[in-house]
């Protein structure tokens, strides 16, 4: 059957031809693994591999020499941090382990390559990420020779391959003894790249394990999600010595840049971890909370866990009187998967609650109110809305607010501009936004919490919800004070009965319009739902949004016309 090249072809050759025809594309092995040449090559190759591994091992050992010091402080070594942030057993494509070889010390027996950075592409909670860690075991994490080049290359790779960027930061910054002005100028690219990553829709997740000071503070500051470690994080522009020299002020490192200060006062940190292990867990939780790879609309439904608590409890959580406080996290626990809610910035602006959760597998960012919106809360919510837009995570607004905070201190703190910023973020958000009126939705709180006027994709009410510019009593009291003041100015006091009558009228006008039987009648929502159905309704709504966004209908220049 096979083609015959020669009429007198011996049988063996034609057989070989046929075999080749069957295995057209398979390369036939022609090497002899027993040959002397092969063996010599192999020995040479193994020796080179051994040299490379020896150099890698030397850097590891140099870094690990700090093990006792780190462990005594309940800190992990940088490579332990990398191992713990990565999915065990998953591929990790480590990069440029030989960076800076012979440039740190020109001695092949002493040079410890790596540039002071451990970096590679690996998996964090199932998401392929660029992971970069300061090798804090060596020289307090200062960048070493070619460390800048390595870092910039690693950032370029993340940008080109659209990888989220996970940084495990602990660095004393540049080594001042080796200062070179071109490194300082070129170093700006590190910060530029962080801003580019964020704008490119690639989340930058940072754990600030230790020092992140002066210029290095921006390595933390330019991140989208920041985890700080209690007692270890140091993020400030000037430490105590420089501060004292510059202004004479005396402050401790903890006061200037500790994790507790940053997560509760400055808002630089979003999550407070108890130690390195806890911090890496949080970093993994943040990644797990992103719906990063979204293959099909319903991909997670099958293994979604139900809430741990009974939805029936939702009946007893919301007070009938909206003035009574309620912890909305207790409500959230009764309709999100596994009652799992990774709270974002819980200690900064704590009356405003933000966090990641899933509903029937759909990732969702939740914003709700445990009290009035204040400047910190509005700032946090703005940040959170933008972070959700970055990761394409739909937003859920659970309205339970009597509005933005009032008072001298709050006006001075810029309540209006921070509130405005939040309203801008809500307006410009590019992800599906869903609103549920769970309790009060008063005043500008209604706007900031994506009320009907802000065109949420869906807007539902719980039966107890109240919507108004303010409460009826407040409105009546306000009018009474204004009227009495005006009358006093004129010197003609208004009779008490008249004031009371006016107050009663205002109260009845306001209160008569605020409940769901008034607002839903005016189609100011998409309907009233039984709180026990919240999970099911949200699951449907999320699926509708996701399917709708993924659908590509054939748009036409005309409507289908009847004959």
């Amino acid at each position: 059957m096979g083609p015959r090249l020669r009429g007198d072809d011996p049988e063996g050759v034609s057989l070989k031809f046929r075999r080749n025809l069957r295995n057209m594309a398979i390369i036939e092995s022609t090497i002899s693994t027993g040959s002397a040449g092969f063996k010599a090559n192999r020995d040479g190759m193994l020796a080179l591999i051994a040299r490379m591994r020896m150099l890698e091992a030397r850097s590891r050992a140099k870094s690990a020499a700090a093990k006792e010091r780190f462990h005594k402080r309940h800190q992990l070594l940088p490579r332990e941090r990398v191992a713990l942030v990565l999915d065990p057993g998953a591929p990790f494509l480590e990069l440029s382990t030989l960076a800076g070889y012979m440039f740190d010390v020109p001695d092949p027996d002493k040079s410890a390559p790596g540039g002071g950075v451990v970096a590679g592409i690996g998996f964090v909670s199932g998401i392929r990420c660029m992971v970069s860690a300061n090798d804090a075991g060596i020289d307090a994490g200062a960048l070493q020779a070619y460390g800048l080049d390595k870092t910039l290359r690693v950032q370029e790779l993340a940008l080109e391959n659209r990888l989220p960027y996970v940084q495990l930061v602990e660095s004393a910054g540049a080594n001042l003894l080796r200062y070179r002005v071109e490194d300082f100028v070129r170093g700006g690219n590190i910060f530029r790249n962080l801003a580019r990553l964020s704008a490119a829709g690639l989340p930058v997740v940072t754990v600030t394990h230790g020092s992140s000071t002066a210029g290095g503070a921006y390595q933390t500051g330019l991140s989208d999600y920041i985890v700080m470690v209690r007692g270890r994080t140091r993020a400030f522009l000037a430490g105590p010595p420089l501060l004292k020299a510059a202004t004479g002020e005396i402050a401790t490192e903890e006061e200037l840049g500790g994790a507790v200060m940053h997560t509760s006062v400055s808002g630089l940190g979003d999550y407070l971890a108890e130690d390195d292990r806890d911090a890496l867990r949080i970093a993994r939780d943040i990644m797990a909370g992103l719906d990063w790879d979204r293959p099909e609309p319903d991909h997670k439904r099958a293994d979604a866990k139900p809430p741990r608590y009974d939805a029936e409890d939702l009946l007893g959580i919301m007070p009938m009187d909206h003035k009574r406080p309620v912890d909305m996290r207790q409500a959230i626990a009764r309709f999100v998967d596994d009652s799992d809610f990774v709270e974002f910035g819980p200690d900064y602006g704590p009356a405003t609650v933000c966090g990641q959760a899933r509903i029937e597998g759909h990732a969702i960012g939740i914003i709700t109110n445990n009290g009035p919106l204040d400047p910190a809360g509005a700032n946090k919510a703005t940040h959170f809305i933008q972070a959700c837009c970055q990761s394409r995570t739909p937003l859920l607004y659970l309205n339970n607010t009597t509005g933005y905070m009032v008072g001298k201190a709050y006006e001075e703190a810029g309540m209006i501009k921070h509130g405005s910023k939040m309203i801008q973020a809500v307006t410009s958000a590019t992800v599906p936004q869903i609103t549920i009126y769970c309790g009060a939705s008063f005043g500008a709180g209604n706007y900031g919490m994506c009320g009907r006027g802000f065109h949420p994709r869906f807007c539902f009410s719980w039966p107890n919800a109240k919507t108004a510019v303010m409460g009826g009593e407040q409105a009546a009291e306000t009018m009474a004070i204004v009227t009495e003041a005006a009358a006093a100015r004129k010197g003609a006091p208004v009779p008490r009965e008249q004031i009371d009558a006016m107050k009663a009228k205002i109260t009845s006008v306001f209160d008569g319009q605020m409940d769901v039987f008034s607002t839903s009648a005016r189609v100011l929502d998409d309907g009233v739902i039984d709180p026990r159905d919240t999970r099911a309704v949200l699951a449907e709504v999320m699926a509708i949004c996701r399917e709708g966004d993924a659908r590509a209908p054939h748009r036409m220049q005309f409507s289908v016309a009847r004959p």
């Binding site: 992990l76 191992a83 998953a90 494509l93 590679g120 292990r277």
Partner: protein
């Protein structure tokens, strides 16, 4: 004899089983084989239980607590009426020895598969039963069963009987209201506590006194009687291995009973059955002392939990005998027809933590796979929720062999193969009992567990890879985010991962890394041992280290890992990325958390109360056991997280104590 009498048939066709769990399934199996239709009843906690699935019809009878469901006579009789059932099998426990229930069935025209209400009543009262038995010539332990319950009389009677003395609740059972008193001095205290427990448990503080037989064996004789005056015995069972006065291991025959003794005990039992005109299955329980003297304790007027060992050595189906007798058939079995073959041992697999005072456990049984080749009576499936409301016995494993050693060997092997992941069971404890020299030699008395507790609770040494290394390896390869395991070269990071985990509550740390060749190094400070994984599939890992290959069953569920090794389930909790335990460990945060899933039966403090460490704060009840929760620290109760009657889950905050305002300071 039967030939002389008129046959009084009470035929039926559809049986309602007034029980749950394995016994309901056991009764249904025979009923179905004999052509009877079956009806299950269930509480809200058993909505989807196996006995509900198995029955032809099922009727809801109430809420989870037994008093609101399985003990509701009206609801069960109504269920029978609604489904057209014409007979009721009570199983064991619940209403099995309740004469009112038997009477209610009879009054409703239902055949009660068991003895008459009168027989149940007379045997249910321990004092009365003894008197009856004594009259029938059955030897009894010296004791006092008088109506005069005054402290003085009780003390005088105790002295007359002679110490040690046992105090027992008249209405008792399951070890409640029972106290062993060693001396006259300790008697008043024990009397008081036995009475109060009896009052709490049975609503009747009346107690009886008995001479305590030291280190006796628990020997019981299985009997059957019919309504025509026929009776046989099916030999004895030895149920000496007990904890908390509850049986754990039962066997037939008893290694301590000679053929002569068997014949004598059997004869006395049959005589007694005939004397009281007993119908159906019954068991006479005796204490056997070291000298071969036996004393009647009580008669159980129902099928026993441990009936399968008798079935194994006699080849009879005891449920079938029950059904035939209840339908009015004369006992077809004569004493000389009863033949014993080989030896059978049963163990009761209980959801309880032997290492923590046998505390009952409830929760989700993630994986359940009973042993092959053995009879296993259970009502479990992988993923079932074991509710906290009922008995902790979840399965019985029965082995039969030509000899006692063969039965024991088969049972040990079967237990080792049993997969029960998710809820702590006494699997390892049972294996240890079966392996123990004293039991192996047939020398176990009722004192066995108490005397050898330390040895029985010790973790057996394992050959090959140590448990911590195996746990680290399994945590690593089965991490929820780990990619599917593959053999061969690996690109995983070779940086050792510092693992931290608790095995049965004990924290370990070790490092693990996978090298480029695909093998694992487990250990600390570079002293890693090389472990190769040969296969990882379907819940089994095959590991190779130091030339030894081993296959191990495991189950990963989130941060939890269960490993079955040599019949011991290791429960591993991954703490690798957990925050450090703060001062909170041991209640230092002032929060008292529920130690188990249970119902709050008593709240003993009010907000604002000052408490001292160790003071009872609340009592939870689970699986018929009360668990007092005490204050972890001294201070002021600032918050109460429970109300009486509430059902709480493990970890629920019972109370918050502000230790800063220490009341004792």
């Amino acid at each position: 004899m039967s030939g002389d009498r008129i046959v009084k048939l009470t035929p039926f066709r559809k049986i309602l089983i007034a029980n749950r769990g394995e016994i309901a399934l056991r009764v249904m199996r025979t009923a179905r084989r004999l052509g009877f239709a079956t009806v299950a009843v269930y509480s809200d906690a058993d909505l989807d239980a196996p006995h509900v699935r198995a029955a032809d019809q099922a009727v809801r009878i109430g809420e989870p607590l037994p008093a609101q469901s399985y003990l509701r006579i009206d609801a069960i009789v109504a269920a029978a009426k609604a489904t057209g059932a014409d007979a009721v099998h009570p199983g064991y426990g619940f209403l099995a020895e309740n004469e009112d229930f038997a009477a209610a069935c009879r009054d409703a025209g239902l055949v009660f598969i068991g003895p008459s209400p009168q027989a149940i009543e007379s045997m249910g009262n321990k004092a009365g039963a003894k008197a009856i038995m004594q009259q029938a010539g059955v030897p009894c332990v010296p004791g006092y069963q008088g109506e005069d319950q005054s402290d003085a009389t009780m003390a005088a009677e105790a002295a007359r009987i002679g110490f040690p003395v046992m105090i027992k609740a008249v209405a008792g059972g399951g070890g409640r209201g029972m106290r062993l008193v060693e001396s006259a001095a300790a008697f008043p205290d024990h009397l008081r506590s036995a009475r109060s427990e009896a009052q709490g448990a049975f609503g009747d503080p009346t107690v009886i006194l008995e001479r305590a037989i030291v280190e006796p064996r628990h020997i019981e004789i299985q009997v059957f009687g019919d309504r025509y005056g026929n009776a046989v015995h099916l030999g004895e069972r030895d149920c000496s291995v007990q904890r908390r006065h509850q049986k754990l291991i039962e066997e037939a025959p008893s290694p301590a009973v000679t053929p002569q003794l068997r014949a004598r005990m059997g004869e006395i039992a049959v005589k007694a059955v005939k004397a009281i005109g007993y119908e159906g299955a019954g068991t006479l329980e005796f204490l056997l002392d070291g000298a071969g003297n036996f004393y009647f304790m009580e008669m159980n007027t129902r099928l026993q939990v441990e009936h399968p060992v008798t079935e194994a050595i006699t080849g009879l189906d005891l449920v079938e005998l029950q059904l035939r007798i209840a339908s009015g058939e004369p006992l077809a079995l004569r004493q000389e027809d009863v033949r014993f073959s080989g030896h059978a041992i049963e163990v009761r697999l209980c959801s309880e933590d032997a290492r923590h005072g046998f505390m009952p456990q409830s929760g989700k049984m993630l994986e359940w796979q009973p042993a092959d080749h053995l009879r296993v009576e259970h009502a479990l499936y992988s993923g079932i929720d074991i509710p906290p409301f009922y008995d902790s016995m979840i399965a019985k494993v029965i082995a039969h062999g030509a000899t006692r050693d063969e039965a024991r060997r088969r049972l040990i092997h079967g237990l080792e193969q049993t997969v029960a992941f998710g809820v702590t069971t006494n699997q390892a404890f049972l294996t240890a009992c079966l392996r123990h020299d004293v039991f192996a030699q047939g020398g176990a008395t009722t004192a066995f567990i108490g005397q050898h507790a330390d040895e029985l609770l010790a973790r057996p040494l394992v050959a090959g890879i140590d448990n911590a290394a195996l746990a680290a390896l399994l945590l690593y390869v089965t991490d929820p985010h780990a990619p599917p395991w593959r053999p061969g070269r690996s690109l995983a990071t070779t940086f050792p991962m510092p693992m931290r985990f608790a095995i049965d509550g004990e924290v370990s740390e070790t490092e693990i890394a996978r090298n480029r060749e695909g093998d694992y190094a487990v250990g600390t400070n570079g002293e890693g041992r090389a472990i190769a994984v040969a296969a990882l599939d379907g819940g089994v890992i095959r590991v190779k280290a130091d030339g030894l290959t081993e296959s191990v069953r495991y189950r990963r569920a989130g941060g939890r890992l269960y490993i079955l090794r040599d019949g011991v389930v290791l429960s591993v909790h991954d703490l690798t990325r957990a925050a450090p335990e703060r001062a909170a460990a041991g209640g230092g945060d002032g929060k008292l958390r529920a130690a188990l899933n249970g119902r709050v039966v008593a709240v003993l403090v009010q907000p604002g109360d000052a408490v001292t460490a160790g003071q009872p704060v609340a009592t939870l009840e689970a699986m018929k056991m009360e668990h007092v929760h005490v204050a972890p620290v001294s201070g002021i109760i600032t918050e109460l997280g429970v109300t009486e009657g509430e059902q709480v889950t493990t970890g629920h905050i019972v109370a918050v104590i502000d230790a800063a305002t220490d009341a004792t300071a």
